[in-house]
Symmetry: none
Subunit: 258 residues, 2 copies
Amino acid sequence: MANLPILPEERHRLIRQRLEAQGRVLAVDLARDLNISEDTIRRDLRELAALGHCQRVYGGALRLSPASGDLQTRQRQNPEGKALVARRAVGLVQPGQVLFLDAGSTNRAIAEALPDHADLTVITNAPDIALALAWRPGFTVIQVGGLLNPSVGGTLGARAVREVADYAADLCFVGVCAVSAEAGLRCFALEDAEFKRAVIAASRAVAVAVTAEKVGTAASFHVADLATIDHLIVGGDVPDAALAPLLDAGLAILQAAA
Amino acid sequence: MANLPILPEERHRLIRQRLEAQGRVLAVDLARDLNISEDTIRRDLRELAALGHCQRVYGGALRLSPASGDLQTRQRQNPEGKALVARRAVGLVQPGQVLFLDAGSTNRAIAEALPDHADLTVITNAPDIALALAWRPGFTVIQVGGLLNPSVGGTLGARAVREVADYAADLCFVGVCAVSAEAGLRCFALEDAEFKRAVIAASRAVAVAVTAEKVGTAASFHVADLATIDHLIVGGDVPDAALAPLLDAGLAILQAAA
DNA sequence: TTGAGGCTTGCACGTTTGTGCATGTTTGTC
DNA sequence: GACAAACATGCACAAACGTGCAAGCCTCAA
C-alpha cells in the first residue's frame, strides 16, 4: 500500500493535519509513516515553520497556539490532563452522530481528539472549536450564532439559546466550571448557565468531562442536577475521596487513565 | 481503444471529474491514461488552476479547499499589501458604528486594523475574525451562525442568509475574489455570492477592499454590479491601465499608498 | 480547390525542483 | 564528558517543469 507516490504539497497538508489534530509531530514517525527519508521531512518542517504554520523544535514540530486572550491562557493550563480526559470522552462517540460541543478548553481538547472520517456533525458555539474542525475530513460543522462572549469564548445570550433549540443532537459535551454531589453542575456566569441548559434540552444524551481540579468544587450559577447527566468523565488523578460522593449519588463515572 | 481523439474540453471535464473524485491527479497518470503527452496535461492543469478549478502543485494538481489551510494560506499571501489596503479601508469607519465584516483574508486584515476603544459593533460570519476581535477593548462581536464552509472560512447557506437579514449595519466590507468593469464583483462559490448579497442588502453603505491581483480579473459567480458599491479600496500597486475602466464606470476609488 | 490564419499538440532544449546520501556539527541525555 | 540522536549543508541525480518551434488539423474565405 505504501508505494503510491505522494506529492510534496499533499505531504505538507498531511503534516499540518496531524499537527492540528495531535498538537505535535515527530520527524521519525512522519518519515516512517510516509515512507520517505527524515531529511525530506525535516526540510518540510523547516518550510512550514518559515511560513508560520508550526513551531520547529528538536525532534519534530509543534502547533502554534491560536491567539485569543483568556481562552488561550486556559488552553495552556494542564493540557496533558485535558488530553487524557478528552481521549476517554471520545470513546462515547459513534460514527455518523450529531454532537454538540460547548465552548471551553476541555471541550476544545475533545474536539481535537475526535476521529477523522467518522462522518460527524458538530454543532458548537465556540468559534475556535469550529475553526479547528472545519477543514478536517469527515466533519460537518455548524456554528451557533449570537453575541460572542470573550471570557467564555463562545456565543451566548437569547439569540444563541434560540438557535440551539433548532437543532437536535445525539450527544452533547457540556463544559462546566465545577461539579459536586451537593451542588450539581455549576458555572461562573448566568448567561453561560442558561445556554448550557438549552444545549442539554436539545440533546438526547448528556456528557460532562472535567479535569481533577473541578471535582468537588462549586461556582455561582447552577446549570443542572447530577441526575441530568448520562456520562461523567473525570481525570485519572481525582482522589477516591472526591469521587465517592459522586458515586454515592448513583452516577456512572468514566475515569481517564492516570 | 486508445487512438480516438479526445477534445480538449472533454479532457478538461475528465480531469475535473477525477479531481473531484480522488482529490488529486498526477500528470504522469493522466498522460498515460489519456494517451497524451505530459506537456499537454501540464498545460491543461495550468489552465484549470488559472480558472480556479484546482490548485497546481509539483507533480500534478489538488482539489481546492478540502483544507482550511487554504484560508491560512491565503492569510500568508501578500500580508503587507493587505495591511496597506486595510489601513486605508478603516478610514471609512466612524466610532460607534455597526459594521459587517465578511469572511476573507483581506477583511481579516481590516479587522486587525480597526481601532480599539471606538465602541464598534462587528457582525461577521468568520469565526477567525470574531475570535480576533472578541477580546479587544471597545468591541461587541456578533457571530453569524450556520453551516461553516471550510474553504471560505465562514458560515454560509440559508441559515446564515436568514440571520444576516435580522441585522442592519452602517457599513459592510464585502470580500470578493475578482473585480472588473465588465463583470462587476465576482467570487468562486455560489453560496458565497448569495451570502454576500444578503450582507449588502442589510447594510446602509457598501465597501469593497481588494489587493492588486484581483483587479481586472473574473470569477465564476456574480455577486453584484459595480453600481452597488459606495467605496472601492484598492492596493497602491494597481497599474493605472487596470484602474482606468473602473474609473470610467464612475466609481470613486480609494487607493492605498504604494 | 487552395491557401491563409488560428488552434492544438508533441518534441527538444535548458532550467528548476525534490530527493537521498555523505559529511561534519549541534543538541539532549546519561 | 561521552554517546547517540537530530540536525544543517553540500552534492548528485532524476523527475517535473516552461518555452520555443514545427507539424498537423480545422475553419473560412477567395
